[in-house]
């Protein structure tokens, strides 16, 4: 489609010893089209926008088309292949979409090592011990996902040999231009959100300026008034307070930015959409809060957590990889990648905690309040999944729900919200009546919630269904990324292996113990284990390979409500010496000795 490819092979003397084959492909993108690239995991390719050919963005973050070499020192390799002097920027494995509003020309470049011991894999084999040779060449389609997620280690290894051969060939599996994208509708949604943000800002600045002056005067008047009234016994205390509360509520609400929640089944591009909306907002100088409630593929932190991060500059995919690197993530460790009937209270609790933190931040930071938030959710939309979505909408006080890719979910939610709105209205009327009748109606000072607006959006044709296997691998990648960084070959982070005595730390688990379903118990008896109970864990060999959260909580009772400072990976447990070895993201001491154990494990491949 309009994309013209001139493949040019050129031999490069890479590092003096090995011959590298550099393959450059050029694509001409028409207006409002996107180039979709699927790159093998753990492989890299470079991309450049030909200068003056137009603008281009990745998930809403613009790619510069400069010839400066600044970025090449950190992320990419600069080269001048194909006669253009552009800087190629480096991107890792995964699926990428380069979208252009204006039309542009893009060059992709992949380096294919012809030698079996290619430089890259050597580095991660020897020094990093996290080589992705296995993960590298796996075809997405080679596993139907029927296997149990955690038990397929050996099976996977048997496939390694073949994969190695494949890997030598091409990093880019497929690259094509598509002119059918829903980007314009996403941009329009952004336009609406933008209008809300501006309104919130104007609203609150107007309130601030007028309020102070008016309030002063009114207060004086009112005070006199009420004094008189009180004398006559006309006014009731409760009523007065209630009114004030409501006023406050309305004011807060009107100056609050949009709170958007994105729902949809798995593999419809939810996290891409949330990134696009976040980036667009950040490009216009807002700092929205990005909340990711997806346990399995959390874009902010490692799997098994839910997180929130204020984003004040667009996510730079060349430095941060496909994920959101935030300087200030707020993460809560759930300890598992799925929610069960048994643990749902814990999950809900953490969502409420995030809501609470968001309120706290908003009350301190006007700009943050006007910017609003974008919430990404799990791709689980039935049964308990739906329950969790509805719970999130309520607790985060979402005003706009964007439903991606499923009409049924859209209808279900629409009905639900309509029902809720009707109920709320009834409630409100009731309250009003009550207020008139009785003097003590202090039971409900809640804000008047406007109905949640829900909008159905098309998914991009570029999204591909991911197999369970692929998901598991990307999860592993997330752990590796946490410790080693996304560009672990040329620009790695340096975690440190340390060891400690069991006695120097305390391990805890939330909601541990036997998981007896209520149905298995005598009628009327509750399960004996509280899903929210924090219990200490006796160190054992089962800790090996566990991802353990370092809590900010100082005491055992704090643990449930505290966010985490980070994660360590337990490498070795020596029961005899009562010591364990762990990988810490940095050389410092652990910021806290309270560690939370979950069911999340990471088996680094080596």
């Amino acid at each position: 489609m309009g994309g013209e490819e001139n493949k040019s092979d050129s031999e490069n003397e890479g590092g003096g010893r090995k011959k590298k084959k550099v393959l450059t492909t050029r694509f001409d993108l028409p207006k409002e089209s996107e180039l979709r690239v699927e790159c093998k995991l753990n492989r890299f390719f470079h991309v450049a926008v030909v200068p003056n050919s137009g603008t281009c963005e990745i998930f809403g973050s613009e790619i510069g088309s400069s010839s400066s070499s600044a970025l090449s020192s950190s992320g990419g390799v600069s080269s001048s292949v194909g006669g253009t002097n552009t800087t190629k920027k480096k991107l890792g494995g995964g699926k990428w979409a380069f979208f252009t509003y204006s039309g542009c020309t893009i060059e992709l470049e992949e380096t294919n090592q012809t030698n079996a011991t290619n430089a890259n894999s050597k580095i991660h084999l020897t020094t990093k011990k996290t080589s992705g040779e296995g993960a590298g060449g796996e075809d997405f389609g080679d596993d139907t996902g029927t296997r149990n997620e955690d038990s397929d280690d050996d099976l996977e290894k048997s496939g390694d040999e073949e994969d190695k051969d494949k890997e030598e060939e091409q990093a880019i599996e497929i690259a094509y231009v598509s002119e059918e994208t829903p980007m314009v509708s996403y941009l329009n949604v952004h336009g609406v959100l933008e209008a809300k943000r501006k309104k919130a800002r104007d609203c609150s600045s107007a309130l601030v300026s007028s309020d102070d002056a008016v309030n002063e005067m009114e207060k004086e008047e009112e005070e006199e008034d009420t004094k008189k009234k009180r004398k006559r016994g006309e006014i009731v205390e409760g009523e007065e307070q209630q009114e004030e509360k409501e006023n406050d509520g309305v004011r807060q609400k009107s100056s609050a930015g949009p709170r958007v929640l994105i729902v949809g089944p798995a593999d419809v591009g939810k996290s891409s959409l949330s990134k696009i909306l976040i980036n667009y907002a950040a490009r216009q100088a807002w700092s929205p809060l990005f909340i990711d409630l997806d346990l399995g593929q959390n874009a902010i932190s490692v799997p098994g957590t839910i997180s929130a991060a204020p984003i004040d500059h667009p996510i730079n995919p060349f430095e941060d990889g496909a994920h959101v690197k935030s300087e200030m993530p707020l993460s809560y460790f759930f300890g598992d990648v799925t929610v069960t009937e048994n643990s749902k209270e814990h999950y809900k609790f953490l969502v409420e905690k995030i809501a609470e933190m968001m309120e706290a931040r908003n009350s301190k930071n006007e700009h943050a309040r006007h910017s609003g938030c974008i919430v990404n959710t799990m791709g689980w939309i039935e049964g308990l999944g739906l329950e969790l979505i509805l719970h999130a909408v309520k607790s985060l006080e979402i005003d706009t729900v964007l439903c991606l890719g499923q009409e049924r979910l859209f209808q279900t939610l629409s009905k639900q919200f309509a029902k809720d709105a009707a109920l709320a209205q009834q409630q409100q009327q009731k309250n009003k009546k009550n207020k008139k009748k009785t003097s003590s109606s202090d039971d409900d000072g809640k804000k008047v919630d406007a109905a949640v607006e829900i909008l159905s959006l098309k998914k991009s044709g570029g999204v591909v269904e991911r197999t369970t296997e692929f998901r598991r691998k990307t999860r592993d990648d997330r752990f590796r990324e946490y410790f080693y960084g996304f560009d672990f070959v040329s620009n790695p982070l340096s975690p440190v292996a340390q060891s400690a005595f069991f006695s120097s730390v305390s391990f805890y688990k939330v909601g541990g113990g036997a998981k007896a379903p209520t149905s298995a118990l005598p009628i009327g008896q509750e399960a004996s284990t509280d899903p929210m109970r924090v219990a200490s864990v006796i160190p054992s060999m089962s800790l090996v390979n566990a991802i353990v959260a370092v809590s900010h909580g100082k005491t055992q009772s704090d643990l449930l409500t505290s966010n985490v400072a980070g994660f360590i990976h337990i490498v070795e447990v020596d029961m005899h010496a009562k010591r364990f070895t762990y990988l810490s993201p940095n050389p410092g001491q652990l910021p806290n000795t309270n560690l939370i154990v979950g069911n999340v494990k990471w088996f680094p491949e080596n």
């Binding site: 510069g64 609406v192 933008e194 300087e327 933190m357 301190k364």
Partner: protein
Amino acid sequence: MAPLSETAKNYKDALSELKMNSKPIITSLTMLATEIAKTDDDEAKTEARNIANVIETRVVEKARDSRVALATLYVLDSIAKNCRDPYASVFAPHVAGVFLTLFAQTDEKTKQSMKKLLGTWETQNVFPREVLARIQTDVDLSGNARVPPPPPPIVHQHQQRVVPPPPPILMMGQPAAAPLQQQQQQFLGQPAPLVAGGMPVVLPDLSGLLNTLKAQQAQSSMGGGSHQSLQGIVAAAPQHHHHRPVTPDFANEDFDFLDAEESLKKFKRDPKSMNKRREYLVNALYDDLPFKCAQTGRRFASKESLDQHMDWLHAKRRRKKSGRACRGWHVSAKEWIKGTIKMGEVDPEFDAFAAGEKKKKENAVGIVIDENLDLNDLPSVLAIESQKKCALSGEPFETFWNEKAQEWHYGKAVKLKRAIGSKKVKAGEIALISAIPKEELEPELIEAIAKAQPRNASTKGAVLRESKRAKK
């Protein structure tokens, strides 16, 4: 018909080239006509009349061929607007006849275009009022008779909303725009008719659009004013490469989203509205942010923000050079709420690393000594000229005036009593306490340091433990 003059003949030939609505040809025909009537004498006036005659004849002749006729009418319009003297008065006597003849014979599409054209004549006072009134009456009559809906004004707005015409068209069909166009804007002024002719196709598509009412209000309340100013921008634009000047539908589109809730509902009802490209939204992300960072591709609204960004990049790069990076610990909930870390300030990743390095160093070798302690309370050694750096770590000593000894001393340092380590550091040399491996430290020394450490120091425990072990 009187025999044509040479000039008029030539002009007629040129005019016959015009087979359709084409801006360049109309422009050149306008310039030609202007050229002919440039001089202010009778001859010029006669020529002008001749040319007017040629044009009028052509419109009537080609009335059945609506494309040519309309294009020719646009030539008439363009000339009359851009070169009023003498043309406006020359055309005036016949324009009503010509217009109505064509109007009576032509198709619906062309009629719409002509109505628009008439609108611009009215607002710009191109022709005398009586003439326009006459045309208007007849148009209304015929319009009501044969062409029932849609009411022209709404149609007009729709067109504006839905199809963002390319920039030069801006002035077209925009009633208020005209007075501004004078000689130097001639170029821009001419295309006026183009739009009307070129775009009427969009109509059906528009009628479905919602919010007509509001749109009308918006239009009327904003009046021509905003467009007029827009026009100014556009007029200036070609000189600087403003590749995407503000689009004419800006005002209306902006209005689009004023009520966010309403627009979401609108999206639901009308997918077209949701999938319509709104140029101003694209511009808000690109061209409206003129300060671009060459390295990251980020754009900013102001120079200050760009500078800030550059500083941040610079600091980041310097840090990268200075050592390996690693991930820091996440902030606590309290700090997170404060959320004051902005780009350009601290990068926790690096700071955590620096702090970590420091701690690591301390852990690896000696014991930790609180930075805030008075050097007088700690072991120290007489400063000597021959050794200025620690024998073990190579760090320079901190020299201070020891009150007790009334001498210059090196702080936090001791004279080694025996040789240490593989570096073959001899006894008698001076070393920093922090550089001495723990196992080499003498118990008394540790005791002394422990005493000096404040009770609440976090490192106290470690020091005490060390001293206990040493005692055993």
